[in-house]
Amino acid sequence: MSNHLNKTSRLEHLSFTLALALGLIGAWWRTLTIPSPMFDSSEYQINIPSVNMVPTPNPSPVFIRELLPKNAITPTVHSPTLVRLPNGNVLAAWFGGSREGAKDVAIYASERNSNGWSSMKVLANRKTVEQALQRPIRKLGNPVLTIDKASRVWLFFVVVSLGGWSTSAVAYQISKDNGQHFSLPRLLVTSPVLNISTLVRARPLNYQDGSIAVPMYHELLGKFGLNVRIASGGRILSIAHIGNLRTAIQPTIVAINSQQAIALLRRTGIAPPQVLWSRTNDGGQSWSLPQASNLSNPDSSCAAIRRFGGGILLAYNPTKQGRNILSLARFDHKQRWQHLHDLERGQDQDEFSYPFLISGPAYDYTMVYTWKRRRIAYIHFNEAWLQTLP
């Protein structure tokens, strides 16, 4: 009997030790197989697009402005995003409904080809997301499109189960056919506190290993930016705070080289109303304390991108109050931000906000933004047009 017990005990001891050792080896293996984060060259040498297109600079200035299709069921639209597809078309998405945060708000999309914009279609609505995520969903918002190194289109968006925007979580869907069909939504768990208060707004960046850097932000108690690195399979690899100012949200990240990047942030809450910026030297794993730039900004989202030939191009509201002016600025070689051009200038009550900016293969830039909360505006211009600006 005693021998039997000893034998059982030894077997239990051996099994536990083996299971623990295997588990630890598995954990170490999982870590060791992850390359250090290095931004993809297409992010900082933007004449090498991430999708297979040959860059062909257009020497003639180009500037096109148009409004996306209107729909009676979405009197209010906001927070547009867009992505250039491998076939050369542009896919734009936004959220729309009777009002921001209403139950009828859905994520809509429209594709622009050589014939113009397609009729809009629903990418996600409250019911389908609720069904897929198996939890109550009160509202949707802030869609963000991006394309990874495998040419898959990712759609990130904010979901709220209880409370307001500051208690949101981020969900995503993936399309393998240029945005024609998307997978069912999946939830990202980014916070240990009931997975609340993570939002998304700005353009993600690709890393060399196929993972993506998704700029997110936190709004509950402290307000700060996050750089969330997500593997191609959807697994979160790391989360880094973009500074610790507690009043800086909605980071937009621009890679300078494989290791360095600048994040521009919206200052929220207390004055002075300025665009903030932070810097990383290790691929987004750690960030400097956000500093104020010389650009005014009235607590509003901005968008930045690496400019052809160096420097950074920024779309932002250059006011201290109100979002009735939308402008472009550049970060020049003197390390100063310089106002370039006003794209929109309206009455005090008008709103031109939430720009989303991408670059194209013909040394061109494409931007979408909220136009008076009623429409989504689209602007296409090129480097030659920027050169004509004083």
Binding site: H13, A19, T31, P136, V189, S191, P192, L194, A240
Partner: protein, 201 residues
């Protein structure tokens, strides 16, 4: 939603019902129940709790409808809930955790919660929660603690930490973060309240 997550969510609601509601009913009808073999009682109660957990609420069921409020409970919480089923312990004389193990878990939960939650709320520039996604630090600490618990015959804690490690590796829960398998905010809050009440603070 993954099948393992679905099972997890419903299991936690069933556990909560058994832990919080059924004992009250049990006490109310204890005189009546004593005439019966407890196994008959359980054979009635468990199917009822499963039905309650699956009760339709809109296009969801009760368990998934409650998810924004409960979150995904950690394995530690699930173990403590089952350990708390005092009434059933009388029936079957089971004891998952010793008093010392309980005390260790609750006190550790306070220490871990005080370390992790403030950093995720932006009180510091570091983000300890990020250690739970990848990296060798957290799994190594967990392995060492599990080994020490095993050596000192705290087998429940040792098995709990082993289960946490493998559940995380196999991605059985909704989260991909090791912290979420060890700790959850409800466990942290309960541990604090328990600590305060124990020491009459």
């Amino acid at each position: 939603m993954k099948f393992t997550v679905w099972i997890w969510v419903h299991w936690q609601v069933i556990s909560l019902i058994l832990c919080c509601i059924v004992p009250i009913l049990f006490l109310l009808v204890v005189g009546f129940c004593l005439r019966f073999n407890p196994i008959y009682l359980l054979s009635i109660i468990i199917p009822i709790t499963i039905i309650i957990s699956l009760w339709p609420v809109g296009q969801l069921d009760l368990s998934t409808w409650l998810l924004p409020y409960t979150g995904m409970l950690s394995l530690t919480s699930l173990l403590l809930i089952w350990d708390a089923l005092e009434q059933y312990r009388q029936c079957y004389r089971w004891q998952l955790l010793t008093k010392i193990e309980q005390c260790l878990i609750y006190n550790s939960s306070i220490v871990l919660g005080l370390s992790v939650y403030p950093t995720t709320l932006g009180l510091f520039n570091i983000e300890l929660y990020s250690l739970g996604f990848t990296g060798v630090i957290l799994p190594s600490i967990l392995g060492i603690v599990a080994g020490i618990a095993w050596i000192y015959h705290a087998k429940a804690i040792a098995y709990l930490l082993l289960a946490v490690l493998w559940a995380w590796l196999l991605n059985l829960g909704e989260s991909q973060n090791l912290w979420d398998y060890v700790l959850d905010p409800w466990l942290f809050l309960y541990s604090i309240m328990r600590y305060l009440s124990t020491y009459n603070l």
